[in-house]
Symmetry: D3
């Protein structure tokens, strides 16, 4: 047994059930995050490189070192149709690990997007290609190809533990990771949650208060809320 997972590429991973992924793809990150019980959300410093970016797919993971994007070429080979690449770095680094050439390659392999706890560049091209990327920074800074990382090992990306095959749901509000084993269950919870929202929205739109709709007044009073004039 090795002490760590460096220098390893795992070829066979178990991806989340495709139907569950499809179901989850109908929801936004906020809905999925709530449906999971308010966990699984990456830190909000990850931002889409263009407004309106959306992605949902199964994670292939990659771990890199600061200023070194060698493993992005290695991970490209492991991408299957419907995957989202989740890239972690062993230390904070805003360098531009990824640009239009790699985006072209990833897309050709079937990738639906990239989540990277580092920087990217060529954002004008990425925007025109509509290749969705969530990153920590935008930087023209180039990287080297000198040190091994790993592919399809468990990683921590922007504060969330991601296993290969997990489902990634990302939009303007952020990136949420759904463990493969609960993908179906979360999709069901999200469906229920969303179903109730349309009705709530309609009532709020005509001036009904959340205080009444959610019956909050008794709890607020019990907590001691005082109205004064």
């Amino acid at each position: 047994m090795s002490m760590n997972n460096l220098g390893i590429v795992k070829r066979n991973i178990t991806r989340a059930d495709r139907a569950a992924v499809d179901d989850l793809s109908r929801f936004g990150a906020a809905t999925v995050h709530e449906a999971m019980g308010r966990v699984g959300l990456m830190q909000p410093y990850l931002r889409p490189v263009y407004a309106g970016a959306r992605s949902c797919g199964t994670a292939v993971t990659v771990l890199m070192h600061p200023g070194d994007n060698w493993m992005l070429h290695v991970v490209a080979e492991q991408i299957q149709d419907g995957d989202v690449v989740v890239a972690a770095v062993t230390a904070d680094c805003t360098d531009g690990y990824f640009g239009d050439l790699l985006a072209t390659s990833f897309r050709a392999r079937g990738a639906r997007g990239l989540i990277i706890d580092g920087g990217v560049r060529d954002v004008k091209d990425l925007t025109e290609m509509k290749f969705p990327v969530w990153s920590k920074a935008i930087s023209a800074k180039g990287t080297v190809k000198a040190t091994l990382g790993s592919v399809n090992v468990p990683v921590v990306c922007a504060g969330v533990a991601v296993n290969p095959g997990d489902v990634v749901v990302a939009d303007d509000d952020g990136v949420v990771v759904v463990p493969a084993a609960v993908a179906r269950q979360v999709a069901e919870a999200a469906t229920l949650r969303e179903a109730s929202e349309a009705d709530k929205r309609a009532r709020l739109a005509v001036g009904v208060l959340g205080l009444d709709m959610y019956n909050m007044r008794p709890a607020l009073e019990k907590a001691g809320l005082k109205y004064i004039d």
Copy 2:
């Protein structure tokens, strides 16, 4: 007398003079901020959730705890037509306190926007609704409803003290707060300031230098500025 204002909802507040608010609504945040003597500006980490957002109205205030948006439902009831909600938090927190349901409710009550020293979500919906929000972060992270804060008490939001009824002017450049008592006076100063800008712009556009237009050369020389070749 209580030690603090927690757990209180003040229902009757004195809003700034409506005509003064209307006058101020014609100006941008930078102009108003200058007209006040360069004070009253919230910290620049507050950013609009979509480009081109603009808002001007009277503040209803709310104080919340980290990760708890209960009081946003309480403040909704206190909104009157023409108000802007100013939400402060007792400690730094980027959680998504506010989304499309609350925006629907706030708008139905007459709110013109939200200023929040925290995070928001559903930014795609907010953008489509054109409900203007200035926030510290965008985050899908959900919040709980467990602890009392207060409504319509004086708060500090993004570095500025805000009293209920003050005027809030917000655009792409930031958020400025005008105390209700000086709203008319500031509107007048802003009018004067803006009047002189069109002429200045025209002169600068044909190549006149600010050095000459503002007669800066004598002061620069006196300060010791040296031109060398």
Copy 3:
């Protein structure tokens, strides 16, 4: 000899060769940065005030103090057609040093843009004018005109040393500075680099892997990369 360059305006500077500047203007910041050997890039906290901003020109430099934009009026007189103003500050400050009036003046003098290690305002106007600005912050905060800085002295802006006359290339990916003496050489290297990219893109687009296109497999194997199932 003076101890520092404060209070000095240098009128005659040697600008980079115009033809080289024109050549460089065809490339993005990432390409130029790579062509230089991965140096010369300003820190990624500098961001364009609107998406799609692009600029390339010769640097006129200005050094200011926190909260004081007096020298921006002084530098305006030194702008020649094709210049980009590079503004440094002696300490971190997000104040809005620059807005639509100065942009009007700079443009009238021939400026192609502004790079500022501080804040700017009137971003709606700047966007409509299409006057490209890269800044550290957007802030309506006004500044004073009280303390001398200098114009056309060497400065450090966002982590890069800039000499008057150097070439500045800026786009969505960031800002890179090319010393005047190597502008032609860098333009040639960029041309070579770009030439090879179209072919690479085409091959990647049909699914060829970077692993094979760049012949990375032997080096990865030598470094010890292991494939497991």
Copy 4:
């Protein structure tokens, strides 16, 4: 009525009751903050310049501009024995506004410390003098004396509204502001709070659990906490 308080020195302020200040001086910032109901705490980026710094006194306030410490000389004259100077800045700035000469002057006037939402220098001297300072940064960067601010006007310092005469309690844990009007009441609440802590500490020290001491088990169970093996 003026639009703002710039350029004003208020000489006569009402300081909090001295006996209440003396009472509060026996407690730490955390205890006082809790006794107030968990409000009034400045943001935690304010740190003491040396470990073990403690201060308690009545606030004299000063508002300055970025990079300009002129008003620190003006506020010195308004210091009375037992005061703590609270210095706000109209925008973020880490410059070193304060050093050993001003500390010497402040101490000679009776000041018990400085709270500054900016930088300070001469920290070795301040440490040797045991003049307690809480600041946002340590920086040798000098400032100018060019622009008026104000003295003894309401300010916002590190996120908290401070009125002249309020009580400031500061130690290693941070800085809390007690409005003058509730100083006595808060001192009493702090006394009660502290009284109960010694007993609690003794019980915890012998292994009693907070779960039992605070009778938390029923509430945890009601909330749904599950123990598994």
Copy 5:
């Protein structure tokens, strides 16, 4: 199967082999981190609350919500002699979750320290007690006890995935986590690494260069390093 681990306390966890923990306790965080292959290090924003703090033990984990420290009381009961508490929060929050009372309780239960991705207070007491804590912030800000988290579930703390029973090694240089399954192996690698350091130190101390000691000159020359005069 549940979608998440919220509201769960796992009582029986498998702790890393005690002898391996004892072995690891002889090394610093840097040595252990290197011995593992340069992985497992928490982000460097975690700092000890006093200089010279050191700790090594088995992780009991706790997951909390922003501004809510209820679960710290729950985790106290699960502490065994030789444990280190590792506390994660579902979103960034600098509140002071932990102070001298909890430290007293944790110590009484056998805890060797606390690693918390949040704030702590009473740092003077913690320093005097020599209870070692690594935190993201120091803040007097109090927390509530309102929302369930979990105990002894896998967490991500400051960028590292931690499982209950893993070994935590912390000192002035940071915090490193060693998975329980490789603790012995890492201890052996650290022993080898440390053994070679004494000899290296002695040689460097008499002026031998790393260039020669590590035989770097050929590789540098091959990489193209040029010496000029």
Copy 6:
């Protein structure tokens, strides 16, 4: 002529006059920075790894890549007695580039300290050795040795341009760089400045106000300062 300075080691550099360095070594960073006209100060995020650290010497410079400390071994050979190593990195990176082994080597070569725009580790050892280091971070994170940088080329470190041979003055207040050509002149200005401070301190200590000692009252009155009661 090469486009950049990567892969170069310059062996012969002109160090500032030793007598001037000795003179400057008597002053703190704040005094020297003021004597230069308030320029030359590195950004305040650089902090000494132990309180009371002081250093003054001639700069040997090194430029590295993120996560790669190879060139620190190269620079060691170029150190002469009385030098201070100034280490820049081509992008932000907090990795621990330097520890006790390199400190032992640097000291053996005659180095008086290290200024690094990155992280360091083994801070307990550095503190015990009293080897003064100013860094951006403390991190146990290890680095690789894979990519060439340069030695004794001009660098930008923490916002300041440094040429080999310049004088570095560093203490608790920060790090200031004095160009070699003006070292003597700055030393003289610092001497004059310091001479006047003792007298000022004595007068302030007995209660004389800066307002009077510096004759500020007329300028304040002219600027419009108003005293109110």
